[in-house]
């Protein structure tokens, strides 16, 4: 997995609440069997009209925001389905960090599987950052220090230690868990005795 340490750049403002995973990547793009190539379809219905032409005033279609690595969005970002295609499409577009007041649980989890940092800030802080993003002020994000800086604003954010470590080191989660294979086998042996109906061959 890609590592995340720090990031500098312009942030794209998306002041909409409840941005759901259908908005991030509509269903017709879920038919792929690959993880890559979805960036061009990110926010498809907001980015393209019915004929597939770019909608010029949508923020990610305007310079310099079309090069953004950071997104600042309204409450409850990523609600809806479990599709990992949502973080895949953000990543493929180049977005490595999303800032909001809250994230839906599954989307939040999925971000960390893909080297994307979701940052939770307070409503007041979001208003400040949204303004800074709109004014094209450069953002500076430091994961080890857990800070977001933009102009005069400097915000500390919270993140669980294990998530932080995984992003910093780009760890392979399955590899880590397979290190506990003995414990998993011991658990299974114990339950085969105690709950045999769960271990019948299907």
């Amino acid at each position: 997995m890609d590592k995340f340490n720090s990031l500098k750049g312009i942030a794209a403002p998306l002041p909409i609440v409840n941005i759901d995973t259908d908005m991030i990547i509509p269903k017709q793009f879920l038919k792929t069997i690959k993880r890559t190539g979805l960036g061009v379809s990110l926010f498809y219905e907001m980015r393209y009209d019915n004929d597939g032409n770019l909608i010029k005033d949508f923020v990610l279609n305007t310079s310099p925001f079309d090069q953004s690595k950071i997104l600042v969005a309204g409450d409850n970002f990523g609600c809806g389905s479990s599709r990992e295609h949502a973080p895949w499409s953000l990543k493929d577009f180049g977005i490595k960090c999303v800032i909001s007041t809250s994230f839906a649980d599954i989307f939040y989890n999925n971000c960390f599987q893909n080297g994307i940092l979701p940052i939770v800030v307070s409503p007041d802080q979001l208003d400040q950052l949204m303004m800074a993003a709109t004014n094209q002020i450069e953002f500076s994000i430091d994961l080890p220090e857990q800070t977001v800086k933009a102009g005069n604003h400097s915000i500390n954010f919270e993140i669980e230690e294990f998530r932080k470590d995984r992003l910093l080191q780009g760890l392979d989660d399955i590899g880590i868990t397979l290190g506990y294979q003995d414990k998993i086998s011991a658990y299974e042996e114990d339950k085969k005795n105690k709950k045999p109906w769960l271990f019948k061959d299907n």
């Binding site: 609440v17 069997i33 993880r35 409850n76 599709r83 599987q113 294990f162 868990t177 506990y180 109906w197």
Partner: protein, 469 residues
């Protein structure tokens, strides 16, 4: 969470499945059953292949294609990409020795319908699937939640998932349900009350006499939409209704283990003095039949109500959000909900595609005709639901009324297959999401119960079942 003291249903399942702590402080939770479908699994199987990792316990996984499948002419999937996805699932499951219900198998259907139908879903289990509506299985007192594709790969490789405990929320609904009000209205009402982020970080346990009085089908509808309240999962304590439903199904414990399983299941309900991080109590008499007017499941109002006015919003953000929704939905503030004219009716989905739902619709539309300007489609949740409905003559009643009778699948709930709304079309839908573009670009979705959708099909407007004769 302590090991001593009173426990919630969630606490009990959690501690029973804890394999251990990893060095990074996270918990490794054992997964009893893993449900797999064609859309969120190909990249997971590909990941296993790249890392040369086997599936840890193939017999704990069951696979079915549902999202992408056509509901007519299903011998041939026309969309080449959909076809590849379905074929990829068949190939991957075969390669790894995983049970797969193919498109011609009567047991095929929406993954969250067939789990319970086959008796795969049982109390006290941990169940995951790369699909947010996995919360449905919580109706049986199983801890069931949706995961992303990377986690699907993790579960395939290790039969565990990395988690931290959720917080406990209890929503109690008490009293007899008023006439015309059913489980869909209850859950829409709850989502309207706590909001689509109201349950974030929590597992919601539904309790109270209104909930415990529901059938398993009704309980599944409630738990299904827990994700629309932002919750990680929904749970309902297992009881005799649950046990009766499970007994005798193909994957249920057989006679050799039934008593042992039953003893364990009976120990699962939350202890009386268990502690909840949040408690909400609702009197069912305050609930009407509910309909969504906007583009989020929290945008919900009584069928007797009006489309809201943005100027009445309490915050600027909420005002903007209402304005955006109304523009998308093509609705004016103050419009009576029952004055909204419909183009399409969709009855089906993992929320309301079970036999009980079809029976209700049939009882309402029997000897009537749908309005001439609407197109109505009914998509059974599984091949077996379809078969049972046909045995009961429900298909004849529905076809006589003008409904299209389709093969099982997710269909227009998310429109990955050809069943989609056209721009501007307005649909009464028994599904779970009214997001912009969900049922087709520019499509306008009003979520409601099967009863309301059936009545609305006949009148051609959104209709109150209580006024319907």
């Amino acid at each position: 969470m302590s090991n001593q003291g009173p426990k919630t249903l969630f606490d009990k399942i959690w501690s029973e499945h804890l394999v251990g702590q990893r060095e990074d402080g996270t918990s490794l939770l054992y997964i009893d059953r893993h449900l797999v479908h064609e859309v969120t699994s190909p990249q997971a199987f590909e990941g296993l292949k790249i890392s040369n990792r086997p599936v840890h316990r193939p017999e704990a996984t069951i696979a079915v294609a549902d999202h992408n499948v056509p509901t007519i002419n299903r011998q041939n999937i026309e969309d080449p990409q959909s076809k590849i996805q379905v074929e990829t699932l068949a190939k991957n499951t075969k390669e790894h020795g995983i049970q797969y219900f193919d498109l011609m198998d009567q047991r095929q259907g929406i993954v969250h319908i067939i789990g319970p139908e086959q008796g795969i879903t049982q109390p006290g289990m941990t169940i995951v699937c790369g699909d947010s509506h996995t919360s449905t299985h919580g109706a049986f007192g199983a801890l069931a939640f949706g995961i992303g594709t990377s986690e699907v790969e993790h579960v395939l490789a290790t039969q565990t998932i990395v988690q931290n405990p959720a917080k406990n929320m209890r929503i109690s609904v008490n009293g007899d349900l008023p006439f015309g009000v059913n489980s869909k209205d209850l859950i829409l009402y709850i989502i309207g009350k706590i909001g689509t982020a109201g349950g974030t970080g929590h597992v919601i346990e539904y309790a109270g006499s209104s909930i415990m009085g529901l059938s398993m089908e009704g309980r599944m509808t409630i738990c299904n939409m827990s994700i629309e309240a932002g919750a990680r999962a929904g749970l309902i304590s297992p009881d005799q209704t649950t046990f009766n439903y499970i007994q005798g199904r193909p994957y249920a414990p057989g006679a050799d283990h039934w008593d042992q399983a039953l003893e364990y299941w009976s120990s699962l309900p939350s202890d009386n003095d268990a502690n909840y991080d949040h408690e909400i109590v609702i009197d069912s008499s305050e609930i009407d039949p509910m309909v969504t007017w906007g583009t989020s499941p929290e945008d919900v109002v009584s069928v007797k109500g009006l489309v809201p006015n943005p100027s009445s919003a309490q915050t600027e953000n909420k005002k903007k959000s209402i304005e955006r929704s109304l523009e998308y939905m093509g609705l004016k503030p103050g419009t009576k909900i029952t004055d909204i004219k419909l183009d399409k009716i969709f009855i089906g989905s993992c929320t309301n595609g079970r036999i009980e739902d079809l029976r209700k619709v049939a009882s309402i539309v029997k000897d009537k005709k749908i309005a001439s300007h609407v197109q109505a489609m009914i998509v059974p949740g599984s091949g077996l639901v379809k078969k049972q409905a046909e045995e009961e003559g429900i298909d004849i009643i529905l076809k006589d009324a003008g409904f299209e009778w389709r093969e099982a699948g997710c269909s227009m709930c998310l429109g990955m297959n050809p069943d989609q709304l056209k721009p501007g079309e307005r649909c009464a839908s028994t599904s779970n999401r009214n997001f912009e573009g969900r049922q087709g670009r520019g499509g306008r979705t009003h979520l409601m119960s099967p009863e309301l959708a059936a009545a609305s099909a006949i009148t051609g407007n959104i209709s109150d079942i209580r006024d319907f004769t």
